[in-house]
């Protein structure tokens, strides 16, 4: 195994482990109090104006129809086109959209190259993939460079952003910029770019088929790996935690009517011992949530007497 193999495998392992760990940590957090925020796209027939089933008389007796297609539509527009930024911060969208969409295309191109690598190892033809990979990654890198430059300029010169940016914001943009620029340099200087990229992925499994890559390819791969290595430890994990902010908070509207299964999950949470220190809470190291909220706190008892 070469140094390259080692670096790639370690990065993939760290990336996946950290992403899964974060995902599991968030998913296993207690069920919170309802904190939905409208519009909620799965409210069938009401999502367009932000309505909910609570608009019905005796709503608890009515069947709930969830519009999962509507939800999917909103998610696709949000993820692919950054619709929210388009609507609420048009100026930023002109940088943020190419930055993100460039990345999607780059990742898409890499995924196609991985597929080519698998086909190659299976002894199959993959030539039809090569022009597609080249075009997709070219487009991704060009869009990415445009987005990075705009975002960097905005982060530096727009005081609204610069005051609230930390060093990592600039570093992240520079890293992304480096990935895109080295990608363009590799693409433009290597006639066999797609074949080499496919060969690189095949070579990760079978070192004997690893092609001789140009020097710039190592820069590109190095930048991408470094970015992947530290990304799961930053706010950029919003690429997947956004699932939770939407599905587990904003759009989470599960009811707890008599007979609903939710209470079973809530009971253990209510059985936890409270340790808040303010006197009115009345925590004594033994009382749990049920004890605390169903009995008046010491201060309250005092006032009642």
């Amino acid at each position: 195994m070469t140094f390259l193999h080692f670096f790639v495998y370690i990065t993939i392992i760290v990336f996946l482990a950290a992403v899964i760990a974060r995902g599991v940590r968030i998913a296993r957090m207690p069920i919170h109090l309802r904190w939905d925020l409208y519009p909620i796209p799965h409210e069938k027939g009401r999502a367009h104006y932000g309505g909910s089933i609570l608009e019905e008389v005796d709503w608890w007796t009515k069947p709930r129809h969830k519009d999962h297609i509507g939800e999917l539509k909103v998610m696709i527009l949000e993820i692919l086109l950054l619709k929210g930024v388009w609507e609420h911060n048009r100026k930023l969208w002109f940088g943020s959209f190419p930055l993100h969409f460039g990345l999607y295309l780059l990742i898409g191109g890499e995924a196609l190259a991985v597929l080519g690598g698998v086909l190659h190892l299976l002894g199959q033809q993959f030539l039809f993939l090569q022009p597609v990979i080249t075009v997709v990654i070219w487009t991704g890198c060009v869009l990415g460079v445009i987005g990075t430059v705009i975002m960097l300029l905005m982060r530096i010169f727009d005081s609204n952003l610069s005051k609230f940016s930390t060093p990592s914001h600039y570093f992240n943009l520079l890293m992304l910029g480096a990935i895109y620029v080295t990608g363009i340099l590799w693409l433009s200087g290597d006639q066999g770019f797609a074949a080499n990229l496919v060969g690189f992925y095949a070579g990760l499994v079978s070192p004997s088929v690893m092609p001789a890559l140009p020097a710039v390819a190592f820069w590109h791969i190095g930048c991408a790996l470094l970015f992947m290595f530290y990304l799961p430890f930053t706010h950029m994990t919003h690429f997947f935690t956004k699932y939770f902010t939407y599905h587990s908070v904003r759009w989470e509207d599960e009811t707890n009517r008599p007979g609903d299964p939710l209470q079973k999950k809530l009971d253990p949470q209510l059985a936890q011992v409270v340790t808040w220190s303010a006197p009115h809470v009345g925590a004594d190291g033994r009382k749990n949530w049920v004890d605390i909220v169903t009995s008046p706190a010491p201060e309250i008892e005092k006032e009642t007497k």
């Binding site: 902010t245 904003r250 808040w276």
Partner: protein, 539 residues
């Protein structure tokens, strides 16, 4: 599209811990002009300043006003003790046993903000302040975020600072942060525009909780005079059961006199179909509203009751705004009372936060008696065909204010509009409206807070947008007082703020602006009542 943001007051995050006499200041000139005849700064009542005595006694170094009245620590030792308490509270805020109620949303908001500032344009307070940095939705969130990474996520290592920035923790920061948590109405408008799903309103909410649950520091009107009083005396208004029953007797008599229909409020009737719970402020400030409910329930032939138990006649739940323990105590109290009376459902009166606390937020405490909101109920009443209604009796211009808690946080948008379109021929919308509405400026309990000079602040800064919206909604009408114009605000808290706005600007006298609930318009349209129920003379 929101306006372009040009921040006038340049403040860095780290300035927050630097001691100074006052960190931020809003000049009357910073406030954008209102439509005429309220457009001349020199003709406005002005902005009272905090008294020197208040400044001497309390920590007042944040901005021009003060809500919590934090006594100044005697010495450095006491300051350090308070800072240590704060750190302890910070740790508990991120512990599942103490904050299971909001841990997931809070952690998500802490760890994933891109600092893109997309949300800032949606905050009416930030905009009205002339884009004063301190009132940005992201400013207080960023301070808590830096503290979270430093003290909860462990260490101030270079990676943490590089990634999330740094901040110095001292008493100056702690005392300012407490006040700053009360410069956001928790309206959650900014949360709607965050592409990541970060909720800066919820961050303000949880900050307030930290201070209340760990340090016994909260706005007096919400805590001592609010939830504590409600759980001891029976109501945050201070009314005990005897007083409220007395008031209702008077309201019943008044209803009969004005409508010609004998109305009888029912108390503690076991087995009634409906337990009606109002915000008790209605009995004192807007008695027409509970009177109208009694009349409508009676005319619809619904078996109903009020409860005279502690907190049973007051659906207020200020715990929603600052303290989950108090929220849960009050919500559980309401649910227990309904269970005891064996009613089929609770009808929640016209109050946004009451509806949200009792209707959905408290839902995760126990499987309680079903709750119905007043908007859906009135929609059902109006279209049931059981009441004879004549829309021409509401022949004046009407606009609708959307209470944030009902609309943005519960999705109750259309019923009130269906009703208004049916019974108020001159109904028109404000812009924007529905789930993208603007807060009245008195959200999160502010409408009952007027200590020091806070009234001035919440009128001129946080309520500015709403007042502007109201004026614009009636721009096509005769601007004078001769044409009465009705702002329908189906929420006690919002009515309190709108009352204060109109009083402050003399809007009734100058522009003929009046306000009230939704049910009053329904009763006013009833053919069977004598005369008019909405009487401009007594409003």
């Amino acid at each position: 599209m929101a306006v372009a943001v040009k921040s006038k007051k340049k403040l860095s995050i780290r300035d927050f811990s630097k001691p100074s006499e006052q960190l931020a200041h809003v000049d009357p000139e910073d406030l954008y002009p209102l439509p005429p005849p309220y457009d001349k700064v020199e003709e406005q009542p002005g902005f009272k300043r905090l008294s020197e005595e208040a400044k001497r006694k309390y920590e007042a170094t944040l901005d021009d006003t003060m809500v919590v009245n934090i006594p100044k620590p005697k010495d450095k030792e006491e300051e350090d003790k308070l800072v240590r308490q704060f750190v302890s509270g910070l740790e508990k805020l991120f512990s599942p046993e103490n904050n299971w109620t909001f841990l997931q949303p809070l952690t998500l908001s802490m760890e994933h903000c891109a600092r893109c500032q997309t949300c800032i344009k949606d905050c009416p307070i930030y905009e009205a302040s002339g884009y004063n940095d301190i009132y940005r939705p992201t400013y207080r969130s960023e301070i808590l975020r830096r503290l979270y990474f430093k003290y909860v996520k462990g260490g101030g290592g270079w990676w943490k600072k590089f990634n999330n920035g740094d901040i110095e923790l001292n008493w100056t920061l702690v005392s300012r942060l407490l006040e700053l948590s009360y410069r956001c109405t928790l309206c959650r408008r900014c949360a709607q525009s965050c592409p990541i799903g970060v909720d800066n309103g919820q961050i303000s909410h949880d900050l307030r909780k930290l201070f209340s649950c760990e340090m016994e520091l909260a706005a007096k009107d919400l805590h001592e005079k609010g939830t504590i009083q409600q759980l001891t005396v029976g109501s945050s208004t201070g009314m005990n059961a005897l007083v409220v029953k007395d008031n209702c007797e008077f309201i019943d008599e008044d209803m009969e006199e004005r409508t010609g229909i004998k109305v009888e409020t029912v108390w503690d009737k076991e087995g009634a179909d409906v337990l009606l719970i109002h915000n008790a402020g209605e009995f004192l400030a807007w008695p027409d509203n509970p009177g109208a409910f009694a009349l409508i329930l009676q005319e619809m032939g619904i078996s109903w009751t009020l409860s005279s138990e502690i907190a049973g006649y007051d659906g207020v739940n200020y715990g929603l705004f600052y303290d989950d323990v108090q929220l849960a105590r009050i919500a559980m109290r309401h649910y227990e009372i309904a269970e005891k009376l064996k009613v089929k459902k609770i009808l929640m009166g016209e109050c946004g936060h009451l509806t949200k606390a009792m209707g959905v937020v408290g839902d995760r405490l126990t499987q309680a008696t079903p709750r119905e909101n007043a908007m859906a109920f009135l929609d059902g009443v109006v279209f049931s065909g059981k009441l004879k209604l004549d829309p021409s009796r509401n022949d004046f211009p009407v606009t609708l204010h959307d209470p944030c808690n009902m609309v943005r946080s519960m999705g109750i948008v259309e019923p009130q509009r269906r009703v208004l379109r049916h019974i108020a021929p001159k109904f028109r919308e404000m812009h924007p409206h529905g789930v993208r509405n603007y807060c009245c400026g008195g959200g999160s309990g502010w409408a009952i807070m007027s200590q020091n000079n806070f009234l001035d602040w919440r009128i001129q800064v946080s309520g500015r947008k709403k007042f502007e919206q109201i004026l614009n909604a009636f721009a096509d009408e005769d601007p004078g007082a001769e044409t009465p114009k009705y702002v329908c605000a189906p929420c006690s808290n919002c009515k309190g703020q709108i009352r204060d706005l109109f009083d402050y600007y003399g809007a009734k006298e100058k522009s003929g602006l009046y306000y009230g609930g939704l049910i009053e318009l329904v009763v006013n349209a009833m053919v069977d009542i004598k005369g008019r129920f909405i009487d401009w003379e007594i409003m």
